[in-house]
Structure formats: C-alpha cells, structure tokens
Amino acid sequence: MANQNPTREEGLANKLKTRFPEAIKNSKIEGKHRITIPFDKDKLLDIAEFMRDELGFDHVKGVAGVDDPTHKKIEILYFTASLSKPEIEDIILVLQTELARDNPTIASAVSVWESAHFHERETFEMFGVKFEGHPDLRKLLTLDNWDGPPPMLKDIKFPEMGQR
C-alpha cells in the first residue's frame, strides 16, 4: 500500500532506523497492524528502552524462538505492543534477531520489559537460549517432565512422533 505520506507503521520504523542506523537496517511492514524489525542482538537493551520511553511500546506479548538448523541459527522474536497509547494500540511490532545455534546468548529484556519474565524462562528451557541478566533463569514447564536437551530444537526428533 504505497502512500504519498508515510503511514504510521512506516513512521515508527523510520524513527527506529534513524536512531539505530547500524543495528537496524531494514523493516518489513505487512498490512495495517504488523511491523517486523530485524536488529543486531547486541543492541537489544538500548532499542528496548527507546521503544518503551519514546515510542510507547510498553509490554511484551511473547518471546518466541524459531530453530533453523539449515542456516545454523536460532531466531528470537519479541512481540511488543502498546497499551498506553491508543493511537498505536493495534500494532504488533516484532523485533527479530538471530543467534548462533551452538551457543545462543542474548541480554535479558526483563530490566526494561518486566512482562518478558516468564516468556524468557520458557524460551530458555525450550531452545537452550541463555538470557544474561535474567533474575531467575530456571526451567519452568519441563522441570520434572523432560530431562534431555531443549525439546523444541528441530534435531530432537522423538521416535514416536509423526508416524503418519
């Protein structure tokens, strides 16, 4: 949907790009309510603070890991949105970054977005991603349920699964 004036999604993406030119190079806007911003993982806390204080994205809906063994990386997605600013409350801004698959570490966003607390714990146990600075990083769902390696990784193929 090309417009003469930038839409508010493009406006938000441009603000982030001008503020962090090395960490954020491009953005993807799908439709009216979705923005995806790939960023450099080392700048997470600065970007998060800017988004919370200047742009108004005050909470995290979820933190997802996506395993990609062919490219040897694990993607981390932060689904952020705003509850305090009605003019952008329908937008979900997805921050996307890539971590090396054999040693995935990233700073914890809990100091900026406390709502990410339990989501990061779950991503830690499901994908093996270490969130540095998390106040309480331990297993959440698989505590007595599963003792092996992180279960959501693609190379964990349970022998019984997917017989069809």
């Binding site: 007595d144 349920n145 599963w146 092996g148 019984e160 699964m161």
Partner: protein, 140 residues
C-alpha cells in the same frame, strides 16, 4: 453390608489432571446429581477419600504427585481412568512429557473412553464401579 456402605459413600479426591475435568465438573452438576450415589466433592482431607479419578492426560510431573496421592488414600481405594489420554495415551500419545500407561502407576478399576467422555458415560462408569464393589470379597 460393608460393601453396601462402601459403594454408597464414594468420595472423589480433589485433584484435576487435565481437560477431562471440565466434564467431571459437569457430572457433579445439578443435572446428573451424583450425590444420590454418594459422590460428594468434600473439601476435606485426602485420607477420607476413596475414589481417585484420573481425568485426562497424565504428564510425568503430575504422575509423581498422583502416585503420592494414591498412596496417601486410605484403603479401600478405587481408581477410574477417565478419557482417552488416561486409558492409553489418546490424542497426545507421542508427546515427550506424558505417561501413556496409567495402569503402571497404580491398579485401575474402570476405564472410561472418550475425548472427553460425556458426563453420563462417567456416571455409568461409577455405577459399574459400585457393582464391582458390591461383589467384592471384603476379607480376601
């Protein structure tokens, strides 16, 4: 005589295992009124209950606690395995965190298939259980 008193006062334990608990709740409701069979959801102690209803999927984490609960119940104690997941694994049979064979944890008296079973099916399972108790040898 003893059997009669046992079968008329089956108190289920307050432990919900998984989604079949929604139909267990529906059975305890006013439509089917299991209290006429003696089933009362008493918020009392575990030791006074004698019926453990395993509703739905049993994860490994819950299986440890179910075993503890089963051992804390005073004898005679009966177990009803409710739902496909409790009978043999059901919909989630190939997941990494569930226990497929509940009968390896403790002996099961009645199996109720269904996903989830209708409350009438669960009630007819209770009736079957009462028949079984009636014909039981008290001093075996």
């Amino acid at each position: 005589m003893i059997n009669w008193s046992r079968m008329y006062a089956l108190w289920p334990v307050h432990i919900t295992t998984a989604c079949c608990s929604a139909e267990f709740g529906a059975m305890m409701g006013p439509r089917l009124d299991p209290e006429r069979f003696g089933l009362q959801a008493v918020a009392g102690g575990l030791r006074q209950c004698d019926l453990l209803i395993v509703e739905g999927t049993v994860t490994k984490k819950m299986a440890k606690r179910l075993k503890i609960v089963y051992e804390q119940m005073a004898k005679p104690r009966y177990v009803v395995a409710m739902g496909d997941c409790a009978c043999s694994g059901g919909l989630f049979h190939d997941s990494y965190s569930i226990v497929n064979d509940v009968h390896k944890l403790f002996p099961v008296d009645v199996y109720v298939p269904g996903c989830p079973p209708r409350p009438e099916a669960l009630l007819s399972a209770i009736v079957k259980l009462r028949e079984k108790i009636r014909r039981e040898e008290v001093f075996a």
